[in-house]
């Protein structure tokens, strides 16, 4: 049940291999992973993405999100990795992985973790292009999505 917040890049595949080996040894039959990737969608080419976070609250929020998932589903494992600092286009931003005896729980828990990460983890993204910078707006539907889990 690992939570990591880091500036360093990570290799989602290597993380999945390590996570799955532990999950398989723990009796999991199903592993789901999600990886979020920096896209270049700005009008001018995206030079970089800067991610600010709230040290202290971030770790607390991610731990709380993970605990909610573990209370709701019987998971063999859960992993959250989220980067902050400067990221380049096509870099992985974050990943979650979940392991469970059956696939329905693994899928639902990964989906749940993502919904909570989107609007309950204190990260803010700023896009930097040659023509200027802009903070990414939070989407009202991201906050509304949490209603799915009530």
């Amino acid at each position: 049940m690992t939570v990591r917040v880091q500036t360093a890049p990570f290799d989602a595949g290597a993380e999945l291999t390590r996570f799955s080996a532990g999950a398989a040894a723990g009796g999991a039959g199903a592993v789901v992973s999600f990886t979020g990737i920096v896209r270049d969608l700005t009008p001018a080419p995206l030079l970089r993405l800067e991610i600010e976070h709230y040290p202290g609250m971030t770790e607390r929020a991610l731990g709380d999100i993970r605990d909610r998932a573990c209370a709701r589903w019987s998971l063999s494992g859960a992993l959250i990795i989220h980067r902050h600092g400067t990221l380049m286009p096509q870099d992985p931003i974050m990943m979650v992985a979940t392991a469970a005896p059956h696939r329905a729980a693994a899928f639902a828990a990964a989906d749940f973790l993502m919904d909570y990460l989107k609007s309950r983890a204190p990260f803010w993204k700023k896009e930097v292009t040659a023509t200027g910078t802009a903070w990414v707006s939070g989407k009202p539907e991201d906050e509304a999505a949490l209603g799915r889990w009530d």
Binding site: Y54, L117, S119, P122, F123, W124, K125, K126, S137
Partner: protein, 83 residues
Amino acid sequence: MTLEVLYFAWIRERIGLPRETVDTQAATVADLIAELSAREPRYAAAFSDPSAVRVAVDQTLSDIESPLEGAREVAFFPPMTGG
């Protein structure tokens, strides 16, 4: 009461600093926002649209009605964009 007040993202940029120590008698988050907004235009600008501001009291997501009694740290930021 002495509070550490933190600002993030465009709220930090608009106010021009990441954190400050505030001596206040504000009973709620709303009172604190009113007090800060009255200081200088840059604060008023940062808090001009309350629907765009989120708040955490002692690192727990809270809202404008939340009491500040016993609080040590209050953070203001726009809607989060993690993931």
